[in-house]
């Protein structure tokens, strides 16, 4: 009796292990499979950004946009972590281009305020400013 | 104590004024470099380091050679060195300072120099070099200054100076070893990719550095009537001679390995420097001058009867310093870039701007040395 139970148990465990092993190998394959290996060949799909709302409140952005940009730059350039999730669940690419995607509609957006506050950020020494991009 | 440097003869002030003028020249040249970029130098895509890094390399050696007086005096109780120890330490301070200035002058973005500390990268030899050089400067400055201060008050130096001075001994070896590792770990720069680079750096440093010290004692005797002693000079001359022998022996082994093995990559840089490569031979006369002058000087220093005569001693020291300066302060760094990774032979000629900055940095170093030694001598002679 107990012998039979243990046989059944052994059989069940063997099946479970077999299935589990199969799953493991599958997911292992998945991990080494080229998730994005062929990505460069795929045509990019452009999803429009919700341009009605910024990644954070205007007040906060006024005082903190430089820290945010620095953090984004670090994350995307050095860590490859490009997704920025806002507390209300929206997702953005951590890139200056995300900002410019909306704000460049007014090429003066950055300049006016910096001019007013008399700060001279060096961003546009290298990055193509909205004013230049229109040239 | 430093106020002692504010009293001096007319000659002293003339010398200081001359240095200040040269510093001004250097600063204006550097301003030009800052506003136009390093393109105003002779460096370029292929020879991407030039006079600055070469001077840096030479001066690290000068800084390290202070150990040649500190070690015998503190570890072996060589009383003959009692008056020269402080000269060696202060020479190390000013040489280490010049090293750092040369690095700064060479940087594309000196405003970001603190990035080296903000993002410490132990895999990079530069990181270690910055650490040990700064450490060495402060160890020597603090211990030298403290010992001098105690001497002024007529009390024995504080007990903490001793461990600091002992620490400076291995530290001196480390600065030049790490400097050699800056070069010796780079694949495909075959002139540098050699295990004897660090020993050769140390040997040439101890040869040239002690020779500079000997010359300094002569200068101090003449301009400040401060004599470090004939015995100290003689002992230093012996050290310099044997370090020079070691240097040229190691250089010879480089030649043997390169030319006997006949591996083109190993030969090419040496060929370029000493014989010319594919018609390019800008350094050939210099390198042979360096080699012959160096060997003759070492020969003079080895002979006891000759090195006891001061005029010969001076000549030999000048020859040895110049020889090693050409070898290390010109040939080694620039020759290492030829041929380039793409097998091109590119010549490098420093520009006037570059040379003015170099002169300016040397003048800053000499000014600091002058002020430090002036103070030291004033204390020692109880003026």
């Amino acid at each position: 009796m107990s012998n039979r139970i243990s046989t059944i148990l052994a059989f069940v465990i063997a099946v479970i292990m077999f299935v589990a092993a199969w799953f493991f190998m599958q997911s292992g394959d998945g991990a080494s499979a080229p998730a994005r290996a062929e990505a460069p060949v795929a045509a990019p799909k452009e999803v429009p950004i919700d341009s009605t709302r910024c990644v954070a409140s205007t007040e906060w952005m006024k005082s903190h946009h430089m820290q945010l940009l620095n953090q984004w730059r670090h994350d995307s350039v050095r860590e490859g972590n490009r997704t920025y999730a806002t507390p209300d669940g929206r997702h953005f690419d951590k890139s200056l281009n995300t900002c410019l995607g909306c704000h460049a509609s007014n090429p003066m957006f950055c300049f006016m305020c910096h001019e007013y506050a008399n700060v001279k950020p060096t961003c546009w020494n290298c990055h193509i400013s909205p004013m230049e991009a229109t040239k | 104590m430093i106020e002692k440097a504010l009293k001096g003869s007319r000659g002293y002030w003339a010398w200081v004024a001359l240095l200040l003028v040269l510093i001004g020249l250097g600063i204006s040249a550097y301003a030009r470099q800052m506003s136009l970029g390093l393109g105003v130098t002779g460096m370029g895509r292929d020879i991407s380091w030039g006079v600055y890094i070469a001077q840096f390399t030479f001066l690290v050696g000068v800084a390290a050679s202070a150990v040649m007086v500190v070690l015998p005096y503190y570890l072996h109780n060589q009383k003959a060195f009692s008056k020269i120890v402080i000269v060696g330490e202060f020479l190390a301070v000013s040489a280490a300072l010049m090293c750092m200035l040369f690095i700064l002058a060479d940087m594309g973005r000196p405003d970001r120099v603190l990035n080296v500390l903000r993002y410490p990268s132990p895999h990079s030899m530069v990181f270690w070099d910055v650490m040990v050089l700064n450490g060495y400067l402060f160890i020597n400055l603090i211990s030298g200054w403290a010992v001098l201060g105690a001497e002024k008050k007529g009390v024995p130096p504080a007990p903490w100076t001793r461990p600091l001075i002992y620490l400076s001994i291995p530290w001196a070896f480390s600065i030049h070893t790490v400097t050699a590792f800056l070069f010796a770990g780079l694949p495909s720069r075959h002139l540098w990719l050699t295990a004897v680079l660090a020993p050769r750096f140390l040997a040439s440093a101890f040869a040239a550095g002690t020779a500079i010290l000997i010359l300094l004692t002569f200068i101090l005797r003449k301009v400040a009537s401060f004599d470090a002693g004939q015995e100290a000079r003689n002992k230093l001359a012996v050290l310099s001679a044997y370090a020079g022998v070691a240097n040229f022996f190691l250089l010879g082994t480089e030649f043997f390995t390169a030319f006997y093995s006949n591996v083109p990559q190993h030969k090419q840089s040496l060929q370029y420097l000493y014989f010319g490569l594919e018609g390019h031979a800008p350094f050939v006369p210099w390198m042979w001058l360096s080699l012959i002058m160096g060997l003759v000087s070492v020969g003079l220093l080895i002979s006891p009867s000759i090195r006891r005569q001061n005029s010969w001693l001076i000549a030999a020291c000048v020859g040895l310093v110049l020889s090693i300066w050409i070898d290390k302060g010109v040939g080694l760094v620039i020759g290492g870039f030829v041929p380039t990774p793409l097998e091109a032979i590119v010549d490098y000629v420093p520009t006037a701007t570059e040379l003015s900055v170099t002169l300016g940095i040397w003048s800053i170093g000499l000014l600091v040395l002058t002020v430090l030694l002036k103070t030291a001598i004033a204390v020692k002679t109880q003026e």
Binding site: D93, M112, N125, I128, K135 | G37, R109, S124, V126, G185
Partner: protein, 258 residues
């Protein structure tokens, strides 16, 4: 009052400029790209992907410079000509320059005279990143050896360390030497090092590198070296290929068919 007035005038002036731009109908053509949300990634697994390239020198056409022009345009690489201040990301070298340690004696004249496309090899064991004191140049999660222009101090150790001459330093301000500003990539400042980035800014948008895309002769294959099923790996398996200076142990990710 005075100050206010001056500020107003200044702003008004800028506003007028913008007005002119809008009137000329240029603003709607604003050239900065939209973000491709489909390829968003969270922190990637390091080492999973290793981008690589295969250059088929047999297919590379004599006299054609399309990829070089395209790359240098897209990345705003300044043009200083063949001077000592030259900056280049990708260029053609002679066979013996690209492979100085390869067999040369009695080589077929065809091979000897062949021009070989040379660029950063995105080495798996890069000596340049080892030498860098600030990690301004570093090996990314996907095998690309990247430059952080915000961090580089311009010490040029990476240039001395690179065995392939892949790196250029900005000896002077590059902006005036960029003939036609491209909005796809920033320019650089004086005093930092730059080099090929395997078009990481295009990969993130799911595009092939500019050189690969621009080659009419199909001489360039790009893909994931870690994926045995990739076109690149299949070509590597099927052909006899070379890396530059393999004896140095840098493990280049750029391969060549001679």
């Amino acid at each position: 009052m005075n100050q206010q007035r001056r500020d107003f005038l200044r702003k008004a002036g800028l506003g007028a400029l913008a007005g002119i731009g809008a009137a000329a109908g240029m603003l709607p053509l604003f050239a900065l790209e939209k973000t491709d949300m489909t390829v968003f990634t969270d922190k990637p697994v390091p080492g999973k992907v290793r981008w690589g390239m295969l250059v088929d020198t047999r297919k590379c056409r004599e006299g054609c410079n399309e990829c070089v022009v395209r790359c240098h345009h897209d990345h705003n690489v300044p043009d200083f000509g063949k001077s000592k201040n030259e900056v280049k990301w990708i260029w053609k070298s002679r066979y013996e320059e690209a492979f100085p340690t390869a067999s040369k004696q009695f080589q077929s004249p065809d091979v000897e005279n062949r021009n070989v496309l040379t660029l950063c090899n995105h080495c798996a064991e890069p000596p340049c990143t080892r030498a860098c004191p600030t990690e301004a140049t570093f090996r990314r999660w996907d095998g690309i050896v990247s430059m952080d222009y915000h961090r580089c101090i311009g010490c040029r150790f990476c240039m001395a360390a690179c065995p392939y001459g892949s790196r250029s330093f900005n000896w002077q301000d590059p902006r005036p030497a960029v003939k036609e500003l491209s909005a796809t990539y920033p320019t650089r400042e004086r005093g930092v090092v730059e080099k090929c980035n395997f078009c990481s800014e295009r990969l993130v948008k799911g595009q092939l590198p500019a050189c690969v895309e621009s080659c009419a002769g199909n001489a360039l294959t790009f893909g994931d070296l870690n994926d045995p099923g990739s076109e690149l790996r299949k070509m590597l398996a099927a052909n006899e290929t070379m890396q530059r200076k393999p004896e140095l142990g840098t493990l280049p990710s750029v391969f060549y068919i001679i």
